[in-house]
Symmetry: C2
Subunit: 518 residues, 2 copies
């Protein structure tokens, strides 16, 4: 039996254990319910919230569930053509072995257990920082709720960070809301913006490919997703003409009110030029769109000539009328950058030119969930206000930070190189963020076979890849792509040597797969 | 000038700076916008999500914003009739001075900064526990994402806890989902249940008085809130006849599918008897309702003769058909109990008899937000699996736990006693949870004055109380109450001596207020 056929069999089973099992079970449940005289359940697939049912989130979708199963099988001693599953599906640096930044964890440990403040094993600046944070907490404890927008002191530190980052342009702590990762802030702002019914429903422009938090949230909120395509031929750049096309077509069936930007790009790795950002801002202003700028990868820029420009800075420097009028929300997180502290769920949003009354509504909405996790808030503080050159922790902090970022830059380069040597794989430069999103050619017979199995062709490819090599990547269909093209998203986070092996294995598998389906 | 009149003036100002300012600003904005040739904003009170606009959350509403302002004024040296604001509005134990439980914080510090594992200053069981948790984390770090339902090992520990709590009735880790506090799990389950339009919209039965997370979430999700009144004359007990009345009336205009229970009660402090719980389960089963049991105060039972019975246990012990068929979700949290670790946002939900496909949908929905905060997950683990008698930390843990719970019991008693000595205040026994919800008589002239100011009468009372004494409590109107009755919710969390003074001040203020408006 060829490898591809063997994979296929397993994938068929996997597909059945997912989608097809649904139908089987439903039918089975009913007949069994009837046999036993059981009542129908109150909450079933048929009676549940239809918007939630439509939600899809590929980054943790069926392929990841299958990866978990495979890990379990390996632990149980089941023989596989690989010895470990490599999860390159999600931007989770520490899960891939990246060590936490010492200063961050020292301050956090001091905050969690203040008895340590008398220990000689912690540097003085870490102790000072911990005391400063604890002073700002209710009851001087991380265990108290903070106010719903986050600890005042930390929002002030965020404001100072933004001012430094943006060359002195002022930031107001009252416009900063700490959040549970960037995700919760993005959802909150989208929630505010969703209104209308039928042809007046809010339309939200999102890039294709996108990070599926956007499509999932729009499905849940029953808003209209309006796709604009990034230009793969030009390193996934954003083209305002394409924005305009998408907007004008959408006006036939909804009311587009929001434009989402992800810069640096996820999953594309593209970093926008200042000119591009200016054009986007002019476009948003002219067309009356609220701007949402997902800037969680602002520390992750690798390519020569690429720089991160914040939307807030560009918008302000463009002067009137943009500076005083263009509405903007910009998001940041402690999960990415050099720190990779995903598990703590820390982040923030800065709103610019937001209506004051709406801002009060936003605070009210956040207050229902009480407050973002306070340890995550504390981490935000350290990230926006790291040790200064005169501090005892500075040298080590700086060295650790640089090491992570330099390695990411090298891995970005390596990824592009190895993939572009493989026939049938084409990979744009990974200018920033943590992902490559290469395009793969899939032979027509593989596409056909996938369709027979009821799978997207790239899902079929990725499932076969997982079954054969243990490499877990996410099919492009989960992020969106032009009809007839196929991609996958792979993180650049595995340690350098592992990444090299992984890239080669993947390229090799693609060649074999292509051969077997030709 | 009398005290009440002076308060009134300030309250008028406060009301204006809240509600009335809205209108003033809106009018002002428009004319100014017109004058300057500015465009209308994309996102305004008029264009925003109308469901979000309807959300109310009294626990952090206008009265708390005013309390924050007063604190600021005090810091700036403004003379007030009090020297500090006492926030008895929210169940935030550590903000009120409660010290964290040592074992919890030791383990957490070890997890945050594993270098401490070699320190001689930490007990061996804390180190073992930290290592066990870290082993279960991605990359052995709290900084990695966990799977979306929470760390497997911790869900297993939760299952064991539930089994011990419920006298051996089995619990399945696959039915347990860790969450960001209990709140996020409650919202997730409600989200699944909301469907339909017009007369088929999901109706959700909630107690009155209720914890306003419920009313706020139902407003946001555009579900129908169906009120059933708890019986104030019988210590806020739940009466199934009243449930039936509420349900049958609601069937005229919506499709009631969910019954929410809060036990021990927030804000009522009532603890349900086993008989009551059995009756509720029979009712839910007969009427085809999904049960949601908010059991976050399960460790907070003080009154003699009162015991906590979990809905899961009672339902299972009732046998067929309830045990195999009645759908239930039960919620717990690390924010309450004896630990009061609100800031970490840890919690979980156990689902019972939930449709397997819906359960997969729930996991999918949670996966969009990636995972609950991992430090909060770690705390859940310690709470469900505290030191055993043979562990070095046991004695101290047990002593700290008992001290907190014994003091809460004494404060519950004191609160009831002092309030019931005050004419015009009547307080049911605080059998459990962390709040009293006394009924206050307000003189007709005060009610009239409040109406003139556009305030609920008990909001007017609480605002005057705050301005005059610095005591911050939440008006009953924020939780719901029978028409024409007035209450407030006050936590029993301030330290004993402070609580005594506070209760007396409050009673005294009520007497003065009554006199001045008679």
């Amino acid at each position: 039996m060829t490898c591809a056929l063997a994979c296929e069999l397993k994938v068929t089973v996997a597909a059945e254990t997912r989608g097809l099992r649904v139908m089987a079970l439903k039918a089975g449940d009913k007949s069994q319910a009837a046999r036993n005289g059981l009542k129908e359940k109150v909450l079933t697939l048929d009676t549940m919230n239809p918007c939630v049912r439509r939600v899809e989130y590929a980054v943790r979708g069926p392929i990841v569930l299958r990866a978990l199963e495979l890990e379990q099988e390996l632990r149980q001693g089941v023989k596989k053509p690989f010895t470990e599953v490599i999860r390159a599906n999600i931007g989770d640096a520490q899960a891939m072995g990246q060590r936490p930044i010492t200063f961050l964890r020292q301050v956090l440990a001091l905050c969690v257990y203040p008895d340590l403040l008398s220990s000689p094993d912690f540097p003085e600046d870490a102790k000072r920082r911990a005391q400063r944070i604890l002073q700002a907490c209710g009851g001087h404890s991380l265990g108290a709720y903070s106010i719903s927008s986050g600890i005042q002191l930390i929002r002030e530190d965020v404001a100072h960070y933004i001012e430094r980052r943006d060359g002195g342009i002022p930031a107001d702590p009252n416009n900063i809301f700490l959040s549970t990762g960037a995700s919760s802030a993005i959802v909150t702002v989208l929630k505010l913006l969703v209104a209308g019914e039928g042809r007046t429903r809010t339309g939200v422009l999102i890039p294709i490919p996108q990070y599926p938090l956007y499509s999932a949230t729009l499905a849940e909120l029953n808003a209209v997703q309006v796709d604009y395509y990034l230009d793969e031929e030009h390193a996934w750049a954003l083209d305002v003409a394409e924005l305009r096309r998408a907007l004008h077509q959408a006006r036939d069936h909804c009311r587009p009110r929001v434009l989402c930007i992800i810069n640096p790009g996820n999953p594309t790795g593209q970093v926008q030029t200042r000119e591009c950002i200016e054009a986007v801002i002019r476009f948003a202003f002219e067309e009356g769109l609220f701007l949402m700028a997902d800037e969680v990868y602002q520390d992750n820029v690798y390519a020569e000539g690429s720089h991160f420009h914040s939307f807030k800075k560009v918008l302000t420097e463009m002067g009137s009328p943009y500076a005083e009028q263009q509405e903007l929300a910009s998001f940041h997180s402690v999960s990415k950058g050099y720190m990779g502290e995903c598990g703590f769920r820390g982040g923030y949003v800065e709103v610019v030119n937001m209506d004051a009354e709406v801002q009060r509504q936003m605070l009210k909405l956040m207050s229902v969930r009480l407050c973002p996790p306070v340890p995550g808030q504390a981490l935000v503080d350290m990230v926006v206000s790291p040790p200064a050159p005169s501090d005892p922790s500075f040298a080590q902090f700086q060295a650790e930070r640089q090491e992570v970022l330099a390695e990411l830059a090298a891995k970005a380069k390596l990824t592009e190189q190895v993939f572009n040597q493989a026939p049938g794989i084409r990979c744009n430069p990974v200018q920033g963020a943590m992902y490559s999103f290469p395009r793969v050619q899939l032979p027509p017979r593989a596409v056909l076979r996938a369709q027979e199995l009821g799978l997207a062709p790239d899902m079929f490819f990725c499932m076969c890849l997982l079954e054969e090599t243990g490499i877990c990547v996410v099919p492009g269909s989960g992020f969106g792509q032009r009809e007839g093209t196929y991609h996958f998203r792979m993180t650049i986070l595995p340690p350098m040597e592992k990444l090299r092996v992984l890239l080669e294995k993947l390229s090799h598998f693609h060649a074999k797969f292509t051969l077997e389906y030709s």
